[in-house]
């Protein structure tokens, strides 16, 4: 498909305004723009999730939640809390390792935030994504695993036994759950034939029956394995042992206060949202709605730039809504279920999640071989779907156009 070459990336677009030898500046500016947009998204999601969690948990517990700061619904409470956290005293325990203690929250947040770099939010125009990678799923899983470094450093650097306990539990848990998480994410990748998230999303565009979760029963069950592993890798209840309030005060975060704590907290919400976005793209069609409304309303590329932009924008809203549903489910789980002990967490991972994920992989593989094109298509074979499985390897994303690489600029 020629989609890669039709639409210039932001860097290429900016480079058209710069003289030839300043081509590198185009990349820097493009990176800054992308990072700014994604930071806005990640931080807004964190603040909004904080407010939403308090409201949801309150309603589940027959209370109201914040009702005073910012009108009747207390939506400014997150802002007020943020201001409070920023103005708190910077406390560092005497026994803490200074450098590690200070470094840990930034590591955690950066790892969590880096996931957004490869996540697309809409599929048109080459993908609304900061950096389109043909190994996007691999990148996301790899970077998500870096968060554990921040936690280990925090636990060790706090100089407290309780923090150390929390950090060790967290390390064991997150690293172990990366295996079934990767296995579970591998199955839609295998069905779609590509690790490129934009491609995976665009494959699911003809209505909810095309969504990969309904492709075959194995992928359907895989979603639940993915959900369990995602909840575990983000340290949400029932797997929130590292932050177990009733046992370890706050686990590895015990000695953190103020801005440093808020970075850990934002990292957690950003991760929650990121794994939900990944689940939405891999299993639930991403930016494609249950019915191909954008096509019916004529909001596609063939109807002009503005219509296409509107279509993509609606797709992005759709994706954000689906991801937020995932976040809501995680909050629902947290406020309902007790937490598992560390050995039970490891049992679930090693004795249940990994074998089930492996079995699902095998089943999906057999299914794809026997019935290419999925459940719906097995009844009404579609030539494109069958070709998808017999098709030659997909074309690669472009290297920078030769003209740019040679420093000449222009298209």
């Amino acid at each position: 498909m020629p989609e890669y070459h039709q639409y210039p990336s932001l860097a290429e677009f900016v480079s058209t305004f710069l003289p030839e030898s300043w081509g590198w500046l185009a990349y820097v500016l493009a990176a800054l723009v992308h990072v700014a947009l994604l930071l806005v998204l990640a931080l807004t999601v964190a603040a909004a999730s904080n407010w939403f969690e308090r409201k949801v948990s309150a309603r589940m517990q027959d209370r109201l939640g914040p009702t005073r700061v910012g009108g009747r619904f207390g939506w400014l409470q997150s802002v007020a809390d943020g201001i409070k956290l920023l103005t708190k005293e910077d406390l560092i325990p005497r026994e803490a390792d200074g450098l590690l203690f200070r470094l840990a929250p930034y590591l955690s947040f950066c790892a969590s935030f880096s996931i957004y770099l490869a996540l697309p939010f809409a599929g048109g125009a080459g993908g609304w994504v900061a950096q389109r990678l043909n190994i996007a799923v691999f990148f996301v899983l790899a970077v998500a695993g870096l968060e554990v470094f921040g936690v280990i450093l925090a636990g060790y650097g706090s100089g407290s036994k309780w923090s150390l306990f929390g950090a060790m539990r967290e390390a064991a848990q997150v690293v172990s759950y990366e295996v079934p998480l990767a296995l579970a994410a591998l199955i839609p990748v295998m069905v779609a034939g590509s690790m490129d998230l934009v491609r995976i999303g665009n494959l699911q565009k003809d209505g909810f029956w095309d969504w990969l979760i309904f492709h075959d029963p194995f992928t359907f069950l895989t979603f639940f394995v993915y959900l369990t592993c995602a909840v575990a890798s983000v340290n949400r209840a029932p797997f929130d042992l590292p932050e177990a309030e009733s046992e370890l005060v706050a686990g590895f975060m015990t000695e953190y206060s103020g801005f440093r704590w808020s970075l850990f907290f934002m990292a957690e919400y950003a991760s929650m949202f990121a794994v939900s976005v990944l689940a939405a793209i891999l299993f639930f069609g991403g930016w494609n709605g249950p019915l191909p409304l954008a096509e019916w309303l004529g909001l596609t590329q063939s109807h002009g730039g503005l219509a296409a932009y509107a279509g993509n924008f609606l797709g992005m809203c759709n994706l954000l809504a689906k991801s937020y549903l995932g976040v809501i489910v995680m909050m629902w789980l947290r406020w309902t279920l007790p937490r598992l002990r560390i050995d039970q967490v490891m049992t679930v991972c090693l004795k249940y999640c990994i074998p089930v994920a492996a079995a699902m992989l095998l089943g999906a593989m057999v299914w794809c071989y026997a019935l290419p094109g999925g459940l719906v298509r097995a009844v009404r074979p579609h030539p494109e779907a069958a070709a998808r499985w017999g098709a030659p390897p997909v074309d690669q994303p472009p290297h920078p156009p030769a003209a740019l690489a040679a420093g000449k600029g222009g298209r």
Binding site: Q61, D62, F165, E247, V249, L337, L340, R341
Partner: protein
């Protein structure tokens, strides 16, 4: 049974490099008060738990030697502050035993009604905080919401929400206000569906069962040997409840009342209500059974409260005269144990013939229940320690007095 005790301060010189001395408390979200637990652990496995108490000691018993008998009632409130009425009842019955004083019928039924409502409140706190210890935040709030309704009822009765001093020597302080019985009935009616909700959220929850099954198993012999009483004892299979099996001065309060003692007899719990079934993974005497016994006792308390309201309506007016402050107590001593929500609470009064007791002593149920924690925690994981301590349902006000 002699425990091999290691003084924590000296232990640092003997400790092996792979053992960790971890301190839980006295400020800790899950030690149910100001309790300090020193854990000697090998990684995650606990080898020994040494409880340090005394952070809430307020010299109540010494003060009791300087106050007239009726003046000591507020101090009993503050012992098990979650079940103040039962504490008041224990002391009142003890002094009445010394005096040989009978209370009027209406006062007797009021005492049962109030004591059982307080038992419900205490068990709600136990259940809610137990869920909270294990990570379940929502049932905690639901339990406290129901408890608020009980506290509102108590506030209408005596003006206080927690430290009542309502049950006094000679009867109760005042009769019920108008409309109270209807409010109480409305509460009981609204409360029964909540018990089913709590069963669904906690008792039958697979994760909670996983966390509590087979943890902290207390054999009946060890329970009796350590002096454990109340739900802790009954969950180990010992069918003993002072409301039915106690001495006459204790059981006379409950004469004419029908209720089941919640203990597993012949492998089954009483079947007088639709209780959730016992899962196969649990062992008699473990944390789950202690939790289950409390949940079932709440249903029995609702039954008793309804019977008490019936008896109250039929009883002649007159709730007794509080003991005069200048009343001299006869020389002698009296000890009486009553069935408080957390176990058998014993009060002893020794009098030398004056208005002020020579000795006022409280035998705390939680004190003896807590003493078994080191045995129960041997070989468990750190995450099991809050599960075990929570299942014992201790209140430090009672332990330290």
């Amino acid at each position: 049974m002699v425990l091999e005790r290691v003084d924590p301060e000296l232990a640092e010189f003997d400790v092996h490099t792979d053992e960790l001395l971890v301190n839980m408390g006295p400020q800790h979200p899950s030690t149910h008060g100001v309790l300090r637990l020193v854990l000697r652990t090998d990684g995650e496995v606990v080898k020994e738990v040494i409880p340090h108490i005394g952070y809430l000691h307020r010299c109540a018993e010494k003060i009791g030697e300087n106050l007239a008998a009726r003046q000591w009632i507020p101090y009993t409130d503050r012992m098990d502050y979650l079940a103040g009425m039962n504490m008041n009842l224990g002391w009142a019955l003890t002094v009445e035993k010394l005096l040989g004083l009978e209370v009027p019928e209406r006062a007797r039924h009021l005492r049962v009604l109030i004591a059982e409502l307080n038992r419900i409140a205490s068990h709600l706190v136990a259940a809610g905080t137990y869920g909270l210890d294990l990570g379940s935040f929502t049932p905690f709030v639901h339990c406290f919401r129901e408890r608020e309704k009980i506290l509102d009822l108590f506030e209408r009765v005596c003006g206080a929400r927690l430290t009542y001093s309502y049950i006094t020597i000679g009867g109760v302080m005042a009769d019920l206000p108008r409309g109270w019985l209807d409010e109480c009935e409305a509460f009981l009616v609204s409360f029964e569906p909540v018990i089913d909700d709590l069963h669904a959220l906690l008792t039958s929850n697979a994760i909670l069962i996983h966390r509590t099954a087979g943890i902290g198993v207390l054999s009946p012999e060890m329970a009796v040997s350590y002096g454990c009483t109340g739900p802790v004892l009954r969950a180990s299979g010992v069918n003993w409840d002072l409301r039915r099996d106690g001495e006459p001065w204790c059981t006379r309060t409950y004469v004419g009342y029908k209720f089941e003692v919640i203990a597993e007899t012949d492998g089954r719990y009483p079947q007088d209500a639709p209780y959730p079934p016992v899962p196969s993974a649990v062992v008699l005497g473990d944390c789950w059974h202690r939790f289950y016994v409390r949940m079932l006792e709440v249903v029995q308390s609702v039954k008793l409260a309804r019977q008490a309201m019936d008896y109250y309506r039929k009883s002649p007016p007159g709730v007794g005269e509080p003991l005069r402050l200048v009343q001299k107590l006869p020389k002698g001593e009296a000890y009486l144990e009553t069935e408080a929500p957390k176990g058998q609470m014993g009060f002893m009064v020794v009098s030398d013939g004056t208005t002020v007791p020579w000795r006022a002593r409280a035998r705390s149920s939680s004190f003896c229940n807590l003493s078994v924690v080191s045995e129960l925690c041997r070989g468990c994981l750190i995450a099991d320690v809050p599960a075990i301590v929570g299942s014992l349902d201790i209140v430090l006000g009672e332990i330290d007095r």
